[in-house]
Amino acid sequence: MTAAVTNVVLAGLGGQGVIKASDILAQAAFDAGFDVKKSEIHGMSQRGGFVASDVRFGEQVLSPMIPAGEADILVLMAADQLEAARPCLKAGGELILGAEIDIKGMPPRCLNVAVLGALSSALEIPRKSWHAAIQALLPPKSHEENLRAFEAGRRV
């Protein structure tokens, strides 16, 4: 059953919206009917330090933490944190870099949702679950802009 679990690590620096992005991913997977666990360390993240969040979903998830070297996908928002983040990724795992995503003139605050768009192409979570999660977890006035950012990232 563990083999059926998808493991995604989202990493970056405090203030980049890493935890919000992982909340949206977890909510989208939850909305799609999966068992979901999500884990990260709070507390210091607002002080600009390295932050990484583990999201696991599948039929049944046990530990909330992804064992080192077992992440299927690493989404990295801060390129200079690669050395710290990389050990989570399995051999042949996919690396998605925030810096490589063209957010098409949208404000930088949307980058965390744009990377989810890129990530969504690699995951079996229906688009409507992603949209529902974005709408559930972000303030209403930012929905339009973030849905556009998501779609822009999705086309990457």
Binding site: T2, G14, R47, F50, L62, M65, A68, A84
Partner: protein
């Protein structure tokens, strides 16, 4: 019973929902990672929740409400229970009428704490039951169970969470809500006035209750047995259960839900049913020691796994008997004080004046790290004052006059006030300088209110402790209030002057936290508007 509704909640959110759904009348606590969100969310759900100056006071408040038959919850991080321990040990003697559940959120690995003490020891030491949930569903269910155990045996119960249970989000199916019992006071001074005459029989009553709970726990639904292969059996509790199941999917598992008193007969039967029995636990070898002391042969992890959190990889290593050095992953960028943080100016000035800084707990502890490296000690909440005084008492005058105690506003209210009283009572010959870093909020734990902000947990106006008034009323002659960002030169001048003299001085460096300033304005405006419409 669980309904059809399905939610994705952190352990803390699940605890808050359970407190609402199981009819808790009052929650009190002091913010501390990883426990903080429980009371905040409980208040959001309509529960009555409040921050107290510290954990001891919070515990006393809920003990009073539990004496009156109301279900009561007190939340804190692991080190908070040190502060509240004085209440805990004797509350175990007096017992309670309504449920009293003590949430201790431990922090193995010290993600945001000064130590990784294992609070399972407190349950044994104080003689109270302890429950250990492994995920958000159990956090939810175990609060119901803790309340039932507490009321049935009229004892406080500790619910021990750990960082990964508090902050991981997992799926929760909530139950039907229970309506709270109306509070009712029955006078019972023989049970509650703990003079020796009453305390001696109270101790015997406590031990008799524990023996009953022990017998009940042998068949309680809180402990789970997962039948697997006979080859390997694992005894575990809390989050370690999840790691163990993933690391050894075929193993037989005994998951302990109530870890004090331990269901030793169940453990003995389980150990006898497998070829090899290994205890998988995070932190101290509490389970392993107790099980071995009962004469049951089990394997325990080696000493290297006492340190830090467990995870699936480490559990695999423990099961394989692998004690080789573990790979040390590269560290990411460390956190730092925000750009423009008012604390920065204060520590830059302290560094410039070559001060010996007795520090305390909060964001500003980051000033100990490069590039500032402007703090000499940090131990526990409030220690800045006492430790600084001790240094002043014994150092030669030229060095003593460089010593400054630096403490944040919330930490000062928590346990710096008694230090200030000590300063008045036993002043060093060279005097002393106490700086209160007043950024108007408990910033470190995520912007919580405290008695110095003049607003309650849910940001409503209330009474306010004014540090400069307090210091003056206690007899401090040199009291200064200044804004370190607006007037850094004044900060330097005042500090120089205070260090040069032999007086006691208190400097309140007042400037709102950058992250909180806008919110503080909004809360104040809302309170002013609410006051304006009152008749």
């Amino acid at each position: 019973m669980a309904g059809a509704e399905r939610l994705l909640l952190s352990g803390n959110e699940a605890m808050a929902l359970a407190a609402r759904d199981s009819g808790f009348a009052l929650g009190a606590g002091y913010p501390g990672t990883p426990s903080t969100e429980i009371l905040e969310r409980f208040a959001d759900l309509g529960g009555k929740a409040q921050w107290s100056p510290n954990e001891k006071v919070a515990f006393e408040v809920v003990l009073g409400s539990a004496y009156c038959g109301a279900r009561s919850l007190v939340t804190m991080k692991h080190v908070g229970l040190n502060v509240a321990a004085d209440v805990l040990f004797t509350a175990a003697y007096t017992g309670v009428s309504g449920a009293l559940v003590v949430v201790s959120a431990d922090d193995p690995g010290m993600w945001s704490s000064q130590n990784e003490q294992d609070n399972r020891r407190y349950a044994v030491a104080a003689g109270v039951p302890m429950l250990e949930p492994a995920d958000s569903q159990e956090a939810y269910d175990f609060l119901f169970a803790a309340a039932e155990v507490s009321e049935r045996w009229r004892l406080p119960v500790i619910l021990r969470l750990t960082t990964r249970v508090c902050h991981s989000k997992t799926v929760v199916r909530p139950r039907q809500r229970i309506e709270p019992q109306p509070p009712r006071y029955e006078r019972d001074y023989r049970s509650r006035v703990m003079i020796p005459l009453h305390a001696r029989p109270a101790h015997r009553r406590l031990r008799a209750k524990l023996a009953e709970i022990d017998a009940w726990n042998e068949t309680s639904p809180l402990n789970r047995r997962i039948v697997g292969e006979k080859l390997l059996g694992i005894i575990t509790s809390g989050i370690s259960f999840m790691h163990a199941r993933e690391a050894a999917p075929q193993a037989s598992i005994l998951k302990i839900g109530m870890s004090h008193p331990l269901p030793m007969k169940m453990i003995r039967d389980f150990a006898a049913s497998v070829d090899r029995c290994v205890v998988i636990e995070e932190g101290d070898p509490v389970l392993a020691d107790a099980i071995r002391a009962a004469g049951i042969a089990v394997e325990a992890k080696s000493e290297m796994y006492r340190f830090g959190e467990l995870n699936v990889s480490r559990v695999r290593r423990i099961l394989a008997g692998d004690n080789s050095p573990e790979p040390q992953p590269a560290k990411g960028k460390p956190p730092e004080l925000c750009k423009g943080c008012p604390h920065r100016t204060v520590f830059e000035t302290l560094k410039k004046l070559d001060c010996l800084v007795s520090g305390d707990i909060g964001c500003y502890t980051l000033a100990a790290l490069p590039p500032l490296e402007a703090m000499d000690s940090m131990i526990c909440m409030g220690a800045a004052v006492g430790v600084g005084l001790g240094m002043r008492h014994v150092l030669p005058a030229d060095q003593a006059k460089r010593v400054v105690s630096v403490i944040g506003d919330s930490t000062f209210v928590h346990s710096g006030i008694t230090g200030l009283v000590e300063m008045i009572y036993n002043p060093p010959a060279t005097g002393h300088v106490l700086i209160i870093l007043d950024n108007g909020i408990t910033a470190m734990t995520g912007l919580q209110e405290h008695p110095g902000t003049g607003r309650t947990l849910d940001h409503k106006a209330t009474g306010r402790v004014v540090y400069e008034d307090l210091a003056r009323s206690l007899g401090v002659k040199q009291v200064y209030v200044l804004d370190p960002i607006k007037d850094p030169q004044r900060l330097e001048d005042v500090l120089r002057q205070c260090l040069a003299g032999d007086e006691l001085s208190v400097i309140v460096a007042r400037r709102p936290c950058l992250l909180a300033a806008k919110k503080i304005e909004q809360w104040s405006a809302a309170n002013a508007a609410a006051k304006a419409v009152q008749p």
